[in-house]
Amino acid sequence: MNELLNEFLVESYENMDQYEGSLIELEKDPTSKKLVSAIFRTLHTVKGTCGFLGLSRLEAIAHAGENLLSLVRDGVVSFNQAIASALLATGDAVRAILAQLEKTETEGDLDYSELVALLVSLQKPAAEGAASVAESAHPTKAAPTEARAVPVEAEAVPVKAPVKAAPATKAPAADPKPESKAVKAPVEVPVEASAAKAQPTAKAPEGDSPSGSKASDSTVRVNVELLDRLMNLVGELVLTRNQIVQLTGSLESVPMQAACHRLNHITTELQDRMMKTRVQPIDALWSKLPRTVRDLAQLCGKQIRLETEGAETELDRTVIEAIKDPMTHLLRNSVDHGVESPEERRAAGKNPEGRILLRAFHAAGLVTIEIIDDGGGIKVERVKARALERNLITPEKAATMSQQEVVNLIFQAGFSTAEKVSNISGRGVGMDVVKTQIEKIGGMVDMSTEVGKSTTCRIKIPLTLAIIPVVIVGCRGDRFAIPQTNLLEVIRLDKNLMVETVHETPVVRLRGNLLPIVFLDSVLAIKTGEREETQHLVVLQAGDRHFGLVVDTIHEAEEIVVKPLGRALTAVSCFAGATILGDGHVALILDIFGLGSRAAMFQSTRAANAFEEEAKAQGVGTGALLNELLVFHVGGIRAAMPLDMVSRLEEFSREQIEEAAGRQVIQYGGSIMPLISLSRALGFDETKSSDGRVQTIVYARNGRAVGLVIDGVEEIVRGNIEVQPAGRRSGVLGSAVIGKQITELIDAQDLVRTHASDLFE
């Protein structure tokens, strides 16, 4: 592309950002002369250059907008919402043409005559319409009514203009490869004043420079591509440094050691500074949001004020790019579902104008971004009902969930509270997608709400994506890096933790839960090299789902520089990038989301629940694992019972327990289940948990279920257990040494016979 056109595009995009921002501010402060002038100037600049580039279509639009603005500036026409909408539509049209220019170097052939006509029609002062009526009998009374009618009529029109322009405006946004954008906004790189002066080319200090150092003196515009390239080179340098440090570690040469130490030091600092050149204030993203909020609020008939705090908070531009979509979606959500209509707000005794606050700050090496609205809050019961309806949770689980847990259900796949699908937040993109997008860059998101008052959505994201902490693992001789953010724990696979198969899916039992697992070598189809004798299980988290990954060896934890993959590998969803280790080996970085879905681990939550349920039932029913025992504690002792006696483990809240026919019962799975306190049945004092939760073992026979109340589950053990018959006590088979501790073996059948005989006749 011709350099001049390129410069024009970069400058005009900037101008249009400013144009839009100032217009929205002008809506709040319609009398500001300064704002009108600034808006006028941006459009004027665009128009002024058009003539040189032969852009007649763009010039016509800018010209019409400029004329209208000059009348506003001179006070001939007073600024109103109709004008604001028309001018915003003008901005959209200008952008659409710019986008077209960027792609095809032509203005495109969209017709904007309607928009131009609208801009021309708005140039008539509102009072003029009234003037013709002014001669009638009651001029003073007629005038205001007529005057008001004009903007209302005009208001319906601006909606059309952006729609016409839409195909062109959307095209660049939908472009999946941001790299293909010829125009990348350069970032302003602040250069410290001292550094600038130290440059040999700097002129001798001239004391009489009138305004001292100007802003333009201490910043230079640098192309982002150059910065990316530099970052890449620094990454290479870091890797080479690591190799050199490793190689010289064994040398005896003192000067060599010293030089190496310096190299180490400088490289670290260089890397650190380099990272800083890539940061941008989050305002780069936020400054585009007032327009979004304004348009949406108008569409929903709401009044919303958008405020920001910490707009100067700095983030790597790749991170800013990555949070753009989720952030916008969350904000749309706040406008659509968070803030109530002015009537509702008035009825609730609130200011009819709602407020959404965007807040960003650094904390604990992460950036926290909050979106806080002062709306009606999330209706917890409604969320719960919806989750039950969609089978996202079981009724038992629902009863024990905290408000916080319930609210965060909205991030689950298949959940959407919108009662009608609005075209605002219901764009077929659920909150689960938002969550996935944020987690993909190693971030977290959660919601909290205060009924009637506010809802806060909190996003925590890393400062950069270029360097990430990982754990290096080995598989058949190859090395792989697993991002720490996805990693929960690492466990050695031995005879206490064996791989079983449920429904043809390999699983392990981990603290009472079934964890589906995948073997890294089989997922990646690695056939060379040897499997190690002892393998390790890496427990990973991807979104809501957990799964285990079996690898051979666990190496060290490291901070690595992420390098993009070559084109040949980008189609493979299992890898997020590559890195070079200290010893010069290349390690591929595993993409946990991709890996999980490749291993078909991610069924919907509902399917996963069903899977778990069935898996448990099966594991128990077949009796294939006779020697498995569930170890728990009750009444201060350690007890165990064969796992095949356990149909399920359930947790209830104490309030759910009711009395019926002189017995404690609970509603469970649509019927009434009697509860037996194991500690009382065994002759111990009853202990009550402090958290109001009741742990039970569900024992089922012949279609009837009994809940055995225990204090808590410890583990599941496997192996040959030698039972010592110890005394004759009701409900106890004997005792055994399990895991080096004396454990009582419970005879559930006997207990139930004694305490709930009527049920199992």
Partner: protein, 122 residues
């Protein structure tokens, strides 16, 4: 000979500088009137200033007023760059001390014509 180009649009500065260089000037540039004054303070008076009208901070008219108030500015020619919508302003600028004006969009030839009126080119 030196020319100072004052315009808040980078694109315009590139366009004007290119033409003026082709005619035979060395060029310097500034983003608004104040920066223009600073440039003069640092580099002395150029033979020619091409100055945009509508700029943030200090506009073209204010620049002309300030520049003409500086001692020793007599040899400097100021040419206002303007558009037809600002035609009224041209008079004000000429009264304040601008020598010529040029209407956007212009060509190399139209600049050359104006400069020969000013006697800067043959």
């Amino acid at each position: 000979m030196r020319a100072l180009i004052i315009d808040d649009s980078r694109t315009m500065r590139i366009i004007i500088s290119k033409i003026v260089r082709e005619i035979g000037f060395e060029t310097g540039d500034a983003g608004d009137g104040q920066e223009g004054l600073n440039w003069i303070a640092e580099n002395g008076f150029p033979e020619l200033v091409c100055c945009d009208w509508n700029m943030p901070e200090m506009n073209g008219l204010e620049f002309v007023q300030h520049a003409r108030a500086m001692p020793g500015n007599e040899a400097m020619h100021i040419m206002m760059i303007t558009t037809e919508s600002e035609a009224d302003n041209v008079m004000a600028a000429l009264e304040a001390g601008a020598n010529e004006y040029l209407m956007k969009p212009f060509t190399k030839e139209s600049i050359q014509d104006k400069l020969s009126i000013l006697g800067l080119v043959p």
